[in-house]
């Protein structure tokens, strides 16, 4: 999933303090699962803002909505009939959803309510960690199912570096060394000999480096 974190309330207030009618729009997908921008968080933010405006003696109307997804036309269309009533929308979707809403409702001020962090997993309740950077050319088959691009601080394709200590990364003792994990799993799979295969220089053109990316599937287009 795409993992996000709630923005500090002060940052949100600074951006919306002069508006009179605000819609807070949550998303029912990833940000709901990582508890940053689902229906529950929409409610919490709405209450916090109402309290702030009440204390300030300002009369501000705050409405709440949570869409099934903010990265699909059909769900974003659900608010078309009322979007013009608002001075601004705070979207609690990831950066993808915020942008898609901005594209669709061109003249409505739109503010992000979360910081989009990474693509990752829920390791345990309240702990999420990164697993993929969408490089566009998956190497997991060569690296025993553990991604050195997203999980090694130096994205070394031929690691580990000399800073790997007791299974941990040189930059943070709480961070697993990705190459230690790769080696452990290669061993488990009886493939430790594969460690000595040199991973070739990577073609990064399918990653961010190649410019904004697009997938076009003729077979599924209408």
């Amino acid at each position: 999933m795409i993992v996000a974190e709630k923005k500090p309330i002060e940052e949100i207030i600074a951006q919306v303090k002069d508006f009179k009618k605000i819609l807070i729009a949550g998303c029912n997908e990833c940000v709901t699962v990582c508890e940053a921008g689902g229906k529950k968080e929409v409610g919490i933010l709405a209450s916090a803002l109402r309290m702030y405006f009440l204390n300030e003696g300002k009369k501000v109307e705050i409405d709440e909505v949570t869409l099934e997804r903010q990265c699909d036309h059909e769900y974003l269309e659900e608010i078309r009939d009322r979007i013009d009533k608002y001075d601004a929308v705070i979207s609690l979707a990831c950066g993808v959803g915020v942008q898609f809403m901005a594209e669709k409702y061109f003249s409505t001020p739109l503010l992000p309510g979360v910081n989009t962090c990474f693509m990752g997993v829920a390791e345990e309740r309240g702990v999420w960690s990164e697993r993929c950077q969408a490089c566009g050319q998956c190497v997991l088959g060569e690296t025993a199912g553990i991604c050195p691009i997203s999980r090694c601080a130096k994205r070394l394709l031929n690691g580990p570096c000399g800073g790997s200590t007791k299974g941990k990364c040189e930059i943070n003792k709480d961070l697993d060394c990705a190459w230690q994990l790769i080696i452990d799993r290669l061993k488990e799979l009886g493939r430790l000999d594969d460690y000595e295969k040199i991973m070739p220089i990577k073609d990064w053109s399918t990653e961010r480096a190649g410019g904004p990316r697009k997938v076009v599937r003729e077979d599924v287009r209408l």
Binding site: A153, K154, P160, G162, E170, E196, K202
Partner: protein
């Protein structure tokens, strides 16, 4: 004696002499004396001087310019190059720049993470890694080709080195990792500072068991402790460093005024023991901001005078 480059270091190793290298960190400013003074102190006691490339990710005068200063002094330089800060265009470009000044040695490294330095908020590049940089230099030198496939006019002539850390984890892949660097085309290795000699000897034995000591020149890395505090710091704070308790104890066991001398003693004793290890072909003496002690270490280790091989 067969050499592939005009490197004096390569020639020294190929002729069977124990090589001695050292390194200097460039200054945090533009005064070339920050490098030339250090180099002057050690030039007669070493075969080549490494210039570090923004070590520990702290911004400094660049390695390439420093190497040129050494070259102008008639000193053989080893250009350290990390893949942290430059993409493949810049790396190849700097290799050609160094080659245009006839810098004949290069040490291919990935580099410390920027988190350790003065720009922790900066981007890192890591377009390629250290093993791929070894391949890149060999391609440029041996095939006369750029990574993009085009021909290079007057290819670089560089003796290609890399680092090896026998003490990082996991230990079981430390020799396979050396083998991987050799397969990539590395010709000499400078190791991480050795304090745990038993572990180093085990690593060397495993390397010999695979015949790797005959495929690459291994220079054993040593760093003298200036104080017991430094020994403790290296033990506890520097990733991938293995300082046994008895070494720390030995440093702490002498009075403060005598600790520097004790540090030099340990260093010299280490070199003497390591000289006997089959496959050790020389020493890389990293006297961090203590370059003036390098001559004493080299002399007391019986590595002086340096053979004249020109």
């Amino acid at each position: 004696m067969k050499t592939k480059t005009p490197s004096k270091l390569e020639k020294m190793l190929a002729s069977g002499h124990m090589a001695v290298t050292s390194e200097c960190g460039p200054p945090r400013g533009s005064d070339p004396e920050g490098i030339t003074k250090k180099a002057e102190m050690i030039r007669n006691h070493v075969d080549a001087i490494n210039i570090t490339d923004n070590q520990t990710s702290v911004t400094r005068l660049c390695s390439l310019a420093s190497c040129i200063h050494l070259k102008m002094m008639g000193i053989e330089a080893t250009l350290q190059m990390v893949t942290r800060d430059r993409n493949r265009i810049a790396l190849q470009s700097d290799i050609l720049g160094a080659a245009s000044f006839d810098i004949y040695n290069i040490l291919c490294l990935s580099g410390d993470h920027q988190n350790f330095g003065d720009c922790p908020q900066g981007q890192n590049v890591f377009d390629i890694d250290s093993i791929q940089l070894i391949q890149t230099v060999r391609l440029m030198r041996d095939e006369g080709k750029f990574l993009g496939g085009d021909d290079i006019k007057r290819p670089p002539q560089m003796f290609v080195g890399a680092a090896a850390n026998p003490f990082a984890d996991p230990f079981e892949i430390r020799v396979p990792r050396l083998a991987k660097k050799i397969a990539a085309g590395v010709e000499f290795i400078q190791t991480q500072c050795i304090y745990n000699l038993d572990k180093f000897e085990l690593w060397m034995k495993q390397a010999r068991d695979r015949g790797l000591h005959e495929k690459v020149y291994i220079l054993a890395g040593v760093t003298p402790f200036k104080s017991a505090g430094m020994a403790k710091y290296m033990k506890n704070r520097v990733p991938g460093m293995d300082v046994p308790d008895d070494v720390v104890k030995r440093m702490s066991g002498v009075s403060k005024e005598k600790q520097a001398e004790e540090g030099i003693n340990i260093c010299v004793e280490s070199i003497q023991r390591l000289k006997e290890v089959e496959g050790v072909r020389g020493f890389h003496i990293m006297a961090i901001e203590w370059e003036d002690k390098v001559p004493e270490i080299v002399e007391r280790s019986g590595l002086y005078p340096r053979p004249d091989i020109s």
